[in-house]
């Protein structure tokens, strides 16, 4: 879980200009190339292997039909539908909780930022496998009988990403000035939030949305232990029926993650506020 936490800031913010480095270090240039080639192999070979495996056919031939056939596979659409539903519920609750809170803390209780940062780290300290034990123990039966319980818990897992994304977004804008201007022109709090603050947070919001959705689509631990067939659980279960399809879907999942993060970096680069620290 921690894997996903701290990278956001690193990938999406500050891209410092490359320091001009030209020096007479012939040997180290080769060492550098060697490192890059080895790393490239380690990361690309499994992708290639998976691709080869996915397009292979049982008679030793090659066919791309497996990709086209994915939507028709048993249970695939159900798994996607369920996962989308969980993602939407988790996303709405996360944004409703995090956006006003982050704005409020920045405006009124800046000293609380540290505390809140600590609170959002808690889901990392509590491994998902432990959290789900407790959740299944204390959840009322009506909730336990529905997959929506998962969505409610996913909110807790999404809080760190969402909060961090918004927090850095809020730091980059002159929030107090914007809010005071809006208020003194007669706008209420709701109006100020919706038409002044949120438009200035577009890329931070996008980052929060993408990371939350990616989290829900990748979350396996809780879903499998709560015995609902979300997308990743389906991949594992379906492997028994057809491993090629599972591998093909895994590759597509990687491409999907790539596309989503690329989207964030695109929007982020266009914004590039000068006071980014």
């Amino acid at each position: 879980m921690a894997a996903v936490i701290s990278d956001l800031g690193a990938t999406t913010t500050a891209e410092p200009p490359a320091p001009a480095r030209s020096r007479r270090r012939g040997g180290s240039a080769w060492a550098r190339r060697l490192v890059l080639v080895i790393a490239g192999l380690y990361f690309l070979v499994p992708l290639y292997a998976a691709f080869r495996f996915a397009i292979g056919t049982s008679d030793g031939g090659v066919s791309g039909a497996v990709f086209a056939g994915i939507p028709a596979q048993d249970g695939f659409l159900d798994a996607i539908t369920l996962t989308v539903r969980l993602a939407v519920i988790a996303l709405v609750i996360t944004l409703v909780l995090v956006v006003p809170t982050a704005v409020w803390v920045h405006l009124r209780m800046p000293r609380l930022r540290r505390v809140l940062e600590g609170v959002t780290l808690l889901p990392i300290v509590v491994p998902p496998v432990v959290l789900i034990i407790g959740v299944l123990e204390v959840a009322p039966p009506e909730l336990k009988g529905t997959p929506d319980l998962l969505a409610l818990v996913y909110v807790v897992l999404a809080l760190p990403f969402a909060y961090r994304a918004l927090d850095s977004g809020l730091q980059a804008i002159p929030l107090t000035t914007l809010v005071e201007a809006s208020r003194s022109l007669g706008a209420g709090w709701g109006r100020t939030l919706v038409s002044v603050v949120l438009p200035n947070l577009r890329s931070a919001l996008l980052a929060a949305v993408v990371l939350t959705v990616a989290m829900v689509f990748g979350e396996y631990t809780m879903a499998s232990l709560d015995q609902y067939q979300t997308f990743p659980v389906w991949i594992v279960v379906f492997q028994q029926a057809n491993a090629r399809v599972s591998v093909a879907v895994s590759l597509l999942a990687l491409l999907g993650t790539w596309a989503l993060l690329w989207l964030i970096s695109l929007v982020d680069r266009r914004r590039q506020s000068p006071e980014d620290t």
């Binding site: 921690a2 894997a3 701290s6 800031g9 690193a10 500050a14 490359a18 480095r21 270090r25 550098r32 890059l36 790393a39 380690y42 070979v45 499994p46 992708l47 292997a49 998976a50 080869r52 495996f53 609750i93 909780l97 995090v98 006003p100 809170t101 409020w104 009124r108 809140l116 780290l121 990392i124 300290v125 509590v126 491994p127 998902p128 959290l131 789900i132 034990i133 407790g134 123990e137 204390v138 409610l152 909110v155 990371l211 990616a214 990748g218 979350e219 396996y220 631990t221 232990l225 990743p232 659980v233 991949i235 594992v236 491993a243 599972s246 591998v247 895994s250 999942a253 990687l254 993650t257």
Partner: protein, 283 residues
């Protein structure tokens, strides 16, 4: 702005309440349950006794061992990769590595497991390739489904994670330090020994702690890969939920959970401390 003063804390109540209900209450339930004898409902320490002996103690051992290995090795490799990328003049390469690291570090455990089954599984591409040149990996005792197999797979998200978290710290290495060292006649080795590494050390250590935590609580990759045959603590906890429990030991899973929280909690506290020192350093 100061006319209608609402007490400031009111604004954080919904957030706090949600966190308490969906995180605080379940965790308290796990902690309390870990002290309960399932037969009588009385207070007991037996769950912890069982959780810290036999197969469960070995589980903690393997989990901590795997997390150490996959924090240290990918940590060093990630550092080397990040340094190589930083030294490269190509901006395109830097961007590509930054995006790729984000993708791979975020790449969920399950699809990852399948990539590696196709690569290093018993009929995987690389296994077949080296067999063609006469090396039988599985015959030599390697297995993707063993400790070292899983460690190789973890590298796939741990190395990118290291690159992501260490890259900002590398910016703290001022180019003029290197120039100063060069001008004073220092060899590259001397530069790294006396300047580079001491400056980077706290950041590297902090990042490795993060990698440790990430590997320690990982469940999906191992579960999908080994279907539970490799005895790591998260997998053992999961099997309690799946109902594979001896009667009378129902709460041992909770004790194991408390054990995990304690381990990760201590590490995260260390990480926070280090982070504070590092950020002061790099001001």
């Amino acid at each position: 702005m100061k006319q209608r003063e609402v007490p400031a804390w009111v604004g954080v109540v919904p957030f706090a309440a949600y966190t308490v209900v969906f995180l605080g209450v379940p965790v308290v339930a796990v902690v309390l349950g870990s002290f309960v004898d399932p037969a009588t409902g009385a207070f007991t320490l037996d769950n912890f006794g069982i959780a810290t002996s036999g197969v469960y103690l070995r589980g903690f051992g393997s989990s901590i061992g795997l997390s150490l290995v996959t924090a240290l090795v990918p940590g060093v490799l990630g550092l080397v990769l990040a340094l190589a990328v930083r030294a490269s003049p190509s901006l395109r390469l830097k961007r590509a590595v930054a995006t790729a690291s984000g993708v791979f570090a975020n790449f969920g455990g399950v699809p990852l497991a399948f990539l590696f089954v196709a690569t290093l599984g018993s009929t995987g591409l690389v296994v077949e390739l080296v067999k063609a040149v006469g090396v039988d990996l599985y015959g030599a005792g390697f297995s993707l489904y063993s400790f070292w197999g899983v460690a190789i797979v973890y590298g796939y998200f741990q190395i990118p994670l290291m690159v992501l978290v260490i890259t900002p710290a590398l910016e703290g290495l001022r180019p003029n330090w290197r120039e100063a060292a060069d001008n004073l006649g220092a060899t590259p080795v001397q530069y790294w020994r006396h300047v580079g590494l001491p400056v980077l050390a706290p950041a590297v250590l902090g990042c490795m702690l993060l990698l440790f935590g990430s590997a320690f609580s990982a469940y999906a990759t191992t579960s999908a890969l080994t279907s539970g045959s490799l005895a790591l603590t998260p997998i053992q906890i999961g099997s309690f939920l799946n109902g594979n429990v001896l009667s009378g030991q129902e709460n041992v899973g909770r004790a194991l959970g408390v054990g995990m929280i304690v381990v990760v909690g201590v590490l995260m506290a260390l990480y926070a401390l280090l982070q504070r020192r590092v950020s002061r350093w790099l001001q």
